[in-house]
């Protein structure tokens, strides 16, 4: 299909509509405001509904109710707003109701600031709320990926009965890039799941959507469901891993910048530098890191935070390779030149 120049947030909103989502519950917070603005204008034209909630707390709990009807529903927010949504997300996770949450994240704790960083990786990948639940976390590095991942998000959420979480930064939300559109899905063609709250309408037994987890449910989630997703869902992008001497890894926008820097530095130094960029951060793509050859001397993790994905890399590699970390602290993404300088320290 033809490409359109779109702002990331608008591409996410348009992708949601094309993926068959007709219901959005949210609360204003920068830098994701174009998502609710776009959907407030567009959803009613598709017979859908946009609700501006009184708070992120309420929005997440509206999402719980909406998604429990079996329809495709979503919310979006940003770091500190996600903290407020954490309650509802934990309930949704406990009830195993599929839905999509978009986080165009901000920098730092507290109110933080708007500059694009990756400082909410832990919040995204560890479950923002209580109880040790999991969400599938998709990490786009471009507007096109953000657009495409919205389709994946709804599909994966429904396949596994789980929250699918788009973890991006404000740059993805605010930048304009060309996006290749996809054919829209008509939500009328999507089946109503058997557990959905529809009103009984002659059904013999009532459907109950519980957010209460007893020990049996908790054990099933952690012994069966989450391990199954971890085994099945490993998505990443890699390049030049064969016989490489070094591996550089990063996700999202930083991953995209790092890949360019890696190519430059490899060309300049003649070193063999492999590259891994997780497309999904939970489940962490352990299979990607298992591909790192014995010839590798060092794994270099680059993030726009204080070393959060770093922990996943360290857990995954479990001491097998020397792991070093290069951060950028807040207030912006690194340039390609800055990443080349980082690489030059280690390679």
């Amino acid at each position: 299909m033809a490409k359109q120049l779109m702002k990331g947030n608008e591409a996410v909103a348009e992708a949601a509509i094309r993926a068959g989502c007709r219901y959005f519950f949210g609360y204003p917070i920068t830098p994701q405001n174009e998502i609710p603005e776009y959907l407030s204008r567009e959803l009613p034209q598709y017979g859908g509904k946009f609700v501006q909630a009184e708070s992120e707390l309420a929005a997440a709990n509206m999402l719980f109710g909406g998604a429990a009807t079996g329809k495709r529903c979503m919310t979006s927010s940003s770091s500190c707003g996600i903290s407020l949504k954490a309650e509802g997300m934990s309930y949704i996770a406990a009830a195993e109701v599929p839905c999509v949450v978009v986080d165009m994240s901000r920098m730092g704790p507290g109110i933080g600031d708007l500059t694009p960083t990756q400082s909410s990786y832990r919040q995204a990948t560890r479950g923002a709320g209580h109880g040790g639940y999991r969400s599938i976390v998709l990490c786009p590095s471009s507007v096109q990926e953000a657009f495409d991942m919205m389709f994946d998000a709804f599909e994966l959420a429904e396949k596994y009965g789980i929250i699918a979480y788009i973890y991006a930064d404000g740059l993805i939300g605010q930048v304009m890039e060309p996006v290749e559109m996809r054919e829209p899905i008509d939500p009328a063609t999507l089946p109503t799941p058997p557990w959905a709250l529809t009103g009984m309408h002659g059904r013999a037994a009532a459907n109950h959507v519980h957010s209460g987890t007893d020990a049996e449910v908790f054990e099933r989630l952690n012994k069966e469901k989450y391990p199954k997703i971890e085994a099945e869902l490993q998505r990443w992008y890699d390049s030049n891993l064969e016989d490489c001497e070094y591996v550089v890894t990063g996700f999202g926008t930083v991953g995209r910048i790092a890949e360019v820097a890696v190519k430059k530095h490899a060309a300049a130094t003649g070193k063999k530098i492999g590259f891994i960029r997780p497309l999904i951060a939970w489940p962490f793509p352990k299979k990607a890191y298992a591909k790192i050859p014995a010839s590798c001397k060092k794994v270099i993790v680059i993030e726009a935070n204080n070393g959060q994905m770093l922990e996943d890399v360290q857990i995954t590699l479990n001491g097998k390779f020397d792991v070093v970390f290069e951060p950028t602290w807040g207030s912006n993404m690194p340039t390609v030149e800055q990443v080349v300088e980082m690489l030059a320290k280690h390679i």
Binding site: V51, A53, N61, M62, N207
Partner: protein, 247 residues
Amino acid sequence: MEKIYSKPALLYDRKFSYCPGCTHGIAHKLVAECIDELGIADRVIGVCGIGCSYFGGYIKMDFIGAAHGRAPATATGLKACRPDEIVITYQGDGDCSSIGAAEIIHAAGRGEKITVIMINNGVYGMTGGQKAPTTLLNQKTTTTQDGRQAERDGLPMREAEILAAVPGSYYIARGALNNPANVRKAKQYIKKAIQAQVDGHGFNFVELLSTCPTNWGLAPVESLARVEKEMIPYFPLGEKVVDGKPV
């Protein structure tokens, strides 16, 4: 022999788990009767707040367990996605007027076409009888052991009157479950609050003054007398908003 009274068809054949003298059972029965009589049993989706009552465990209907205080938000999501169904929340006074104060006020403010039933027994029952926003002055609770003091603990809040002041409210009433006459009136309020939603109106709310003998430290009959003597004078009964207009 002609059968002139029976358990509502919608109530599961299951014993209530409530303490002796608790009026949750009466409230459940009234809601079930109203749903039966309105002929909407197939269209109802219940939303349960956090508290002693496990509404969906007793009334046969599709049902979701909401987070503490968030039932009006969860109901908003349900109603957005299933506007033809009848969405009824069943919440306590702690749920509604304390932790969920924002959710219920804004559900009213948006004129959500839902029906909220709030059980007001003046304490947090399930957690063991702590002070609620509705706890009366001098009432002893586990967190006001010398009785609620205005200076220290503030004054009891009147949820029905608060919601009556919100422009989006369509039907607001307060009933009591302490004697047959009041139970009959309460049923009328519940029925009107559900009928309004069936007719496409909202926001609809009924507060029901209820007992908690266990946490009040009173026998069941004494508890009913306390509703009459202490609660009703502070929480006046009656309709507060009808057809979107203050009464």
